[in-house]
């Protein structure tokens, strides 16, 4: 009995102990690399004259959803969701870390670049939600 409970407790401690979970998000580089690999042929076929700008490639793939390969459909579903989560984390980081910034980044110029750079320097001591948002933003490396 004890042999089961102990690992369970350790697992629980890890989950609640403030250790940030690994990033459940993805970078633009990674997302568009996967997209090019899984959907490259479909893009050449259905979206050959579509520019990468304006989200047009994504829109073109969606428009041709019934015709693209199953692998391409699956990659789209996986990557765009993870990418959206990363974008959201980057967008809300300053807000989520507001209290930590007041503590560790006082006197820093009110410029997103300087504030976020300060946060990254302080990332070892900031609170768990701030730590998590930095991980989700892909800025913890």
């Amino acid at each position: 009995m004890r042999s089961v409970i102990l690992p369970a407790l350790v697992a629980l401690a890890c989950l609640t102990g403030g250790l940030p979970a690994s990033a459940q998000t993805i970078s633009f580089g990674e997302a568009y690399d996967r997209l090019a690999h899984s959907c490259g042929r479909d893009i050449e076929k259905f979206c050959g004259n579509t520019s990468l700008g304006g989200g047009a490639v994504k829109a073109c793939l969606e428009k041709n959803q019934a015709r693209v390969s199953a692998g391409c459909r699956q990659t789209q579903a996986e990557t765009f969701g993870l990418l959206a989560k990363r974008m959201n984390a980057q967008a809300v980081a300053i807000k989520v870390c507001d209290r930590d910034m007041q503590q560790y980044c006082r006197g820093v110029q009110p410029h997103d670049g300087y504030l976020l750079s300060c946060l990254l320097k302080a990332s070892k001591v900031v609170g768990p939600s701030c730590k998590q948002v930095i991980v989700d933003a892909g800025w913890d490396e």
Binding site: F28, Y32, G48, L52, G53, G113, L120, G138
Partner: protein
């Protein structure tokens, strides 16, 4: 700094074979470190640079391309990365092989370390075909990269400008058709706000 930028360009270019695999070498950590230096003593006037390129073509400056001097020496002294971007032939449509490269540039420019800077995307073609058409094509391609970065990849439009230099600033003057000449530079040109 310049040495680092050139070394990186060389590494990327040296590895670029017929396939797009060279781009695998591009990574955001290297890009961020390379671009994180601003030379405050050099000011790049993008409109003036664009005009200089147009005038260069109109005047047939350096008719022998193997002897043609670079259009802007100061540009090459700034912190920059050189990336090979694959476009459809004769078009500004970026091919899927290069989606990752544009994505990595975006990841880097969105990183807190680089948020304080503005950048110039410079497009170059090789020296095959008509000089004037090459200038127009490079302008469109540089604009397409900028457009992708500020829309699909969500970078503040005020942080990026673009310009095309056609074949007015060849990397390898002696080999006009070399793929090394077909390149996109991302150059740190100033402070944002």
């Amino acid at each position: 700094m310049n040495r680092t930028a050139l070394a990186l360009s060389a590494a990327i270019l040296a590895a670029s074979g017929a396939l797009g695999h060279a781009q695998e070498r591009l990574n955001d950590v290297t890009l961020i470190n390379t671009l994180n230096v601003l030379d405050e003593s050099t000011r790049i006037d993008v409109a003036a640079l664009r005009k200089k390129a147009v005038d260069s073509v109109a005047a047939n400056r350096g008719p022998d391309r193997s002897l043609r001097e670079p259009l802007s020496m100061e540009l090459d002294n700034l912190s920059q990365v050189t990336v090979e971007v694959q476009f459809k032939t004769g078009s500004a449509v970026i091919r899927p092989e290069s989606f990752r490269a544009i994505g990595v540039i975006a990841d880097s420019l969105r990183h807190p370390t680089l948020l304080q800077y503005t950048f110039l995307i410079v497009g170059h073609t090789d020296a095959v075909g008509d000089r004037k058409s090459n200038l127009a094509l490079s302008e469109k391609r540089a604009a397409a990269v900028r457009q992708a970065l500020v829309t699909t990849f969500g970078i503040e439009p005020g942080r990026i400008q673009s310009v095309g230099l056609g074949e007015e600033q060849l990397q390898v003057r002696t080999l006009g058709g070399s793929s090394t000449n077909r390149r996109v530079q991302v150059v740190n040109i100033g402070r944002f706000k």
